[in-house]
């Protein structure tokens, strides 16, 4: 069929050679080759490697702490998936595979820094000190979030893709106006996915951040997939390069390497705090699970890909490193597992006994104070509910 063929031609063009080399006046020719440097400090085999720009002095206690975080957040995630299967949660967005990106970046934050998550940053939430139950409330349908973002400097989850990047940028502009940039400054980190980079809002955030030189770090977890769409549907060049077009630095880090994520985020946050403006970090990682518990990835991706990434597991390499460097007793791993199991058990128990919100609560918090209309509707609702009480009693 003619049109179909034309279409195929169109799509093969987009994969074919683009003849860029012959266009020397074009800016693109000056870009670095696409095999971009991936900052890595710990290999999948657990070997420590050095990087000139990211020296990382890390104590055994710190490494153990990171390992503990990684194991616990994976366990919480695991429990949540099980709870969803049992009908206790409406849905769950798993972080499986992204633990290092989240724990590494989350542990790079100071208490006064502010974090803006998407809907998948359970590991960051953990690092910030948020009670995991708050996350479960959301996925259970008991609240839309409802925690106090100022308590742990961890904003509410944002579901509309990309929106929070502008909120984070505005917040960072507020830090500037508060005079809180400079020595002992504050900064913001905002999380988003590879798919999110296509949204207008995210690109506008890059613009507002760069023209204002705002203290915000854009942390993109490139987990290779936006639901069923591979990265090629969003970009034909590595995502960290996007930043250069807006005039600020971009860096790609091994997102399964908790050391590298920690070091790269620390440096970018410190630069932001000191007034050096935004950085885009692309954490190159992989979504090991389904997009959410309602998704079926077997429809769109090959298991071979998954298998390849399993070899790069973010937790295993820290374990190997600890073993290799003899920084721990073997019992340490069992202790962490036991602790994780306990946290998991608490999560499970608390979720199963979580009460539903009161029906009338749906009328609360629409405005600062209750409006006449809101009060009238609520009264109408109460009366309506009451009308059943008699009926039920009569039965």
């Amino acid at each position: 069929m003619a049109v179909k063929d034309a279409g195929q031609a169109a799509s093969s063009q987009s994969r074919g050679a683009r003849g860029r080399a012959s266009r020397s006046a074009a800016a693109v020719a000056d870009r670095p080759p696409e095999q971009a440097e991936l900052v890595q400090l710990l290999t999948p085999e657990g070997e420590r490697v050095k990087h000139p720009d990211y020296p990382l002095d890390i104590t055994a206690a710190e490494v153990k702490g990171l390992y503990r975080d990684l194991v616990i957040v994976r366990r919480i995630d695991f429990e949540a998936i099980a709870l969803q299967r049992q009908g206790e949660l409406g849905i769950w967005a798993s972080l499986l595979g992204q633990e290092a990106a989240q724990v590494g970046s989350g542990r790079a934050l100071g208490p006064r820094d502010m974090a803006f998550p998407t809907y998948r940053e359970h590991g960051v939430a953990w690092c910030r000190g948020l009670d995991p139950m708050k996350l479960l409330e959301l996925f259970r349908g008991v609240s839309h979030g409802g925690w106090d973002p100022t308590e742990h400097n961890f904003h509410l989850y944002t579901i509309v893709i990309g929106s929070q990047t502008l909120h984070a940028t505005g917040y960072a502009m507020g830090i500037q106006r508060d005079g809180a940039v400079g020595e002992d400054g504050e900064a913001v980190i905002v999380y988003f996915g590879d798919g999110a980079t296509s949204q207008g809002d995210v690109n506008e955030a890059f613009i507002y951040a760069s023209v204002n030189n705002a203290p915000v770090v854009f942390f993109c977890q490139n987990n290779q997939w936006a639901i069923s769409e591979p990265l090629e549907r969003q970009s034909r060049v590595p995502l960290y390069q996007r930043a250069s077009g807006f005039g600020f630095p971009g860096v790609r880090v091994d997102g399964n390497d908790v050391f590298a994520c920690l070091a790269v985020t620390r440096k970018a946050m410190q630069a932001a705090r000191e007034g050096q403006g935004p950085t885009l970090i692309e954490a190159y990682t992989y979504r090991m699970g389904a997009h959410t518990t309602t998704d079926d990835p077997t429809r769109y991706r090959l298991s071979a890909e998954l298998e390849a990434w399993k070899l790069k597991d973010p937790i295993e390499r820290v374990k190997q490193y600890l073993i290799r460097t003899e920084q721990v007793e073997m019992s340490f791993f069992d202790e962490v597992d036991a602790e994780a199991a306990e946290v998991g058990g608490q999560v499970r128990a608390a979720c199963q006994t979580m009460p539903d919100p009161l029906p009338e609560s749906m009328f609360d918090d629409v405005y600062t104070s209750r409006t006449a209309q809101n009060a009238a509707e609520r009264a109408e609702f109460d009366a309506y509910l009451d009308s059943f009480v008699g009926e039920e009693a009569a039965r």
Binding site: V142, S143, I159, G200, Y300, F363, N374
Partner: protein
């Protein structure tokens, strides 16, 4: 006749549209291999290729904006917006460009673009996945806004929408995707009710109940329940929300003298307001009671554990019907 879910009926309708006209395209997030999060486009990319069933970047303004460009080039794009709550990034392209291009060009340009939006609640979803924004589009001249209430209409109306040279915002009642009914897939569109016409679903004499989308089934059930109480409801599925089929509506209300409008959207400023205002103007002397509106309360969509209280249901429809007899 085949028994199809509403989702599958849409799928079959889309397949026909792709078969009938090589200019028809489907575009959206995850519409390809995945077949959409509700599987409405299941199997279509496999059969029609990546150039006709297009997984787009994750950017709704881009979906609609490029669809407009494709339409200007002679294509007939069908855009899928993954959920109701995610249409807003595309709002500007829809209301300022899609709706106005024909007018701007003094009729020289047509934009035969369909925007499919799964809408409404009741599926236990998280925030932004249960919205009913149809009134925002119905207030925008230049758009046709429609909603299907059952598999047969889903099958026919999606094809009619693709055939329309006007842009169509096509609202799909997501909680009814799994409802089944008989659909005549072999049948052409000749016998189908025109896209801009309402349908008297249940004839009756005491109260007119106007509704669309997910509430069609609810209201049909209400008619059965009311009949047991000896009350005869005339249930009308509006189908076209803009323009409204005022003739059919008015004819019914002049007959019954009572009217209840039911939708999931927030009542305040919802489509029911327009319908009520218009009916009152046209049937002032026939109305025995004010047109009553049943819909969501004037709050954001609550967490899903509360949605059964928030959304209208059979009881609230019957309650309103009762109240129209209180005047």
């Amino acid at each position: 006749m085949t028994t199809l879910t509403l989702s599958k009926a849409l799928n079959e309708g889309l397949r026909k549209a792709l078969e009938n006209d090589p200019k028809v395209l489907i575009m959206g997030e995850d519409v390809g291999k995945l077949g959409g999060v509700f599987r409405v486009t299941d199997g279509l990319q496999k059969d029609f290729g990546e150039a006709r069933v297009v997984d787009t970047p994750l950017a709704e303004s881009g979906i609609v904006g490029t669809a407009i460009g494709l339409a200007l080039r002679g294509y007939r794009p069908i855009c899928e917006i993954q959920f109701d709550g995610f249409v807003f990034p595309a709002f500007d392209q829809i209301v300022c460009q899609l709706a106005k291009m024909r007018y701007r060009s003094l009729g020289k340009l047509s934009l035969p673009v369909v925007i499919r939006i799964p809408f409404g609640g009741g599926i236990g979803a998280v925030e932004h996945h249960s919205e009913s924004p149809e009134a925002l589009f119905a207030h925008t001249p230049g758009l046709r806004v429609v909603s299907c209430g059952d598999p047969a209409d889903a099958f026919a109306m999606i094809q009619q929408s693709v055939n329309s040279d006007d842009p169509v915002i096509f609202f799909e009642p997501k909680r009814r995707y799994w409802d089944k009914a008989e659909v005549d897939v072999a049948e052409g569109l000749a016998a189908a009710l025109p896209l801009d016409r309402a349908r008297v679903l249940v004839p009756g004499s005491d109260v007119t109940v106007l509704t669309y989308g997910p509430m069609v089934r609810t209201c049909a059930e209400a008619a059965v329940a009311a009949a047991q109480d000896g009350r005869s409801l005339e249930v009308i599925d509006l189908r076209s929300l803009a323009p409204l089929d005022t003739a059919t509506i008015v004819e019914s209300v002049r007959k019954t003298g009572r009217c209840v409008v039911v939708h999931e959207a927030v009542v305040t400023g919802g489509l029911g307001a327009e319908i009520a205002a218009r009916i009152t103007q046209e049937c002032f002397y026939q109305l025995e009671a004010p047109v009553l509106r049943v819909g969501a309360y004037t709050t954001p969509y609550p967490p899903s554990r509360l949605e059964e209280h928030y959304l209208p249901d059979l009881d609230r429809v019957l309650d309103a019907v009762d109240r129209t007899f209180g005047y």
